[in-house]
């Protein structure tokens, strides 16, 4: 299972986007990020991990990086479209390496706005960023850190 943490910090990612000028550079960067996305095992490309609400196919799951009652989690996700993979890479940088509780406390929207990626959040944009954000939170919310007595 490949669960490599994203190499970039959110600050670094934001400063990269700040330097990019026109749409071609911005989308080019997003596509590059998508190319570098850690691969998802082919057997994980299954219905159980499908995220709906995107014109492309998207799969997503959370995988514990550490043991313990409240493990640090990694997002493992993939898509057949490069721009969607790029958006996944951005989500990884925002949310991976956090516990379920920390994920639920994290609002990714301001960072996405600073990187001028908010337009992808609109429900009319069928690239699924809104659906993926929702799914990250659902997966974190349903994560069972310990047995309830």
């Amino acid at each position: 299972m490949m669960t490599a943490p994203a190499a970039l910090t959110l600050d670094e990612l934001e400063s990269h986007f700040e330097l990019l000028g026109d749409w071609e550079a911005r989308f080019g960067h997003l596509i590059d990020l998508g190319r570098q996305l850690p691969p998802m095992a082919p057997e994980d490309h299954c219905d159980a991990f499908r995220v709906h609400g995107c014109q492309a196919q998207v799969w997503m799951r959370l995988v514990p990086r550490t043991g313990g009652a409240e493990p640090v989690l990694d997002i493992v996700a993939d898509s057949d479209a490069f721009i969607v993979k790029g958006l996944i890479a951005v989500l990884l940088i925002i949310y991976s390496g956090k516990t379920a509780a920390e994920i639920l406390r994290t609002d990714g929207a301001p960072a996405l706005a600073r990187m001028q990626l908010s337009e992808h959040l609109s429900p009319t944009r069928k690239n699924g960023l809104a659906a993926m954000l929702r799914r990250v939170r659902e997966l974190a919310a349903s994560w069972q850190p310990a047995c309830t007595p």
């Binding site: 749409w23 071609e24 989308f27 080019g28 596509i31 590059d32 190319r35 995107c54 014109q55 492309a56 196919q57 057949d80 479209a81 490069f82 721009i83 969607v84 069928k126 690239n127």
Partner: protein
């Protein structure tokens, strides 16, 4: 580039008519809009916008029962639209034209009202594998309600022609045949008259989905020989929310109502109601009056331009687009290679997801559609989750196709990472 096609007429109707469409004049992301999503909906000429505005400003009233001047004007306009739609389809009688919200509602009306009265368990409904969900799901619902079964005429390969070799067996014991005139995903033009004739010979009722052909070519329900035909105003330069169902009079008279309400009754008691004759029996409630006014203006506009000229322009641009797109290495182009085809080209480019393509094309002002185009079972059969579709109207030009090709080249460079 040197085209193998005949050179276009020196002045195409597109160049002469584009100015009639205010929405086409805008820039998107700094680029002139190239609107290639006409199979989803067409832009509207100023004549349609003006007619609807004038209706609301001068003639607005409810129809059919008003004795005042505005009520009479509104009724005349609404019923005049029915006459215009009847002429547009060459329907034998104006009473055979029912106004609906669009093709989808027209098809649901037939499935619900005709289907409930005529189908019993085991009866077969014959469809094709290329149907839009709106000509599939209503029949699935009907089959579930009545115990009827669905049969499908197969589609052959990427060219998307119907395989009619087994048609007699498929039609045996069937009660209804519903099929699209032109495929919205492939551009295939189906042999309507032949299919209707073979169905009629077997005593089978026929339903034609003309969503993609209305406004693109002359339509004639008598020549087609169909029992029902459904189409939308908004794909033929009219407003959204108005469409037409043509139905043969004997069938409409024998059908129960679709929805209950005002306008569709002659007398109501607490115990029951007597219904109006068609078409009013099927138009419960206040209809889309302004929509009908807009539709009439659209049909008048198309008539003035001339449907044969419209058809020729769409055929020219589509053939040109197909030829230019075939320059891309490894491209998979769906739909008929030769002969008549609908005004669209659906493609898959190797290593390029249609969503990436459409997103990056939009950045450069080109509007195309991506996805399964509401024909998921067909795409399952073709083995592609999504295609990119460029679809044309008579206001589109070869020059716009050239722009689209340039944009595509740039998109592919970006996605493949080469300079």
């Amino acid at each position: 580039m040197q085209s193998r096609l005949a050179s276009p007429p020196t002045t195409s109707i597109a160049d002469a008519l584009r100015g009639d469409f205010p929405a086409l004049a805008q820039r998107i992301n700094g680029h002139p809009l190239v609107y290639f999503d006409n199979a989803a909906t067409t832009q509207k000429p100023r004549a349609v916008l003006d007619a609807m505005r004038r209706h609301y400003e001068e003639d607005n009233a409810n129809v059919h029962r008003g004795v005042h001047t505005l009520g009479n004007r509104a009724t005349a306009a609404y019923e005049g639209a029915r006459d215009r739609a009847a002429a547009f389809l060459n329907a034998p009688a104006r009473e055979e034209i029912i106004f609906t919200r669009g093709t989808t509602e027209s098809l649901n009306l037939v499935a619900t009202a005709w289907g409930a009265a005529h189908l019993k368990p085991g009866d077969a409904i014959v469809l094709t594998e290329m149907e839009h969900h709106s000509n599939l799901v209503p029949w699935q619902l009907l089959a579930r309600r009545t115990g009827a079964v669905l049969r499908f005429i197969p589609v052959l390969g990427d060219e998307g022609r119907l395989d009619l070799t087994g048609l007699d067996a498929l039609l045996r014991g069937a009660r209804l045949l519903a099929f699209t005139h032109i495929s919205n995903a492939l551009g295939t033009v189906n042999p309507v008259a032949e299919l209707c004739e073979r169905a009629r010979a077997a005593g089978i009722v026929t339903v034609v989905d003309a969503a993609q052909s209305a406004g693109h070519m002359p339509l004639d329900v008598r020549a087609m020989g169909c029992d029902f035909l459904a189409c939308s105003g908004h794909k033929a330069c009219g407003p959204t929310g108005i469409g037409v169902l043509y139905g043969r009079r004997e069938l409409l008279e024998a059908m129960p109502p679709y929805q209950g309400g005002g306008e569709m009754i002659t007398r109501v008691t607490f115990e029951g109601a007597e219904y109006q004759a068609p078409p009013h029996k099927f138009e419960a409630g206040t209809p889309n009056i302004a929509g009908a006014v807009g539709l009439r203006a659209a049909l008048d506009y198309l008539g003035q331009v001339g449907l044969p000229a419209i058809h020729a322009q769409i055929q020219d641009v589509t053939a040109y687009a197909r030829e230019r797109l075939s320059e891309f290495r490894g491209i998979r182009i769906f739909g008929p290679r030769e002969g008549a085809r609908g005004g669209l080209v659906s493609v898959v480019l190797p290593g390029v997801h249609a969503l990436d393509l459409a997103t990056l094309a939009d950045q450069q002002g080109v509007a195309i559609r991506v996805g399964h185009h509401c024909t998921q079972p067909l795409h399952d059969r073709l083995g592609v989750p999504a295609t990119a579709r460029a679809s044309f109207s008579f206001y589109n030009t070869r020059a716009e196709v050239d722009r689209f090709v340039t944009v595509l080249e740039r998109v592919i460079r970006m996605l493949k990472g080469s300079p």
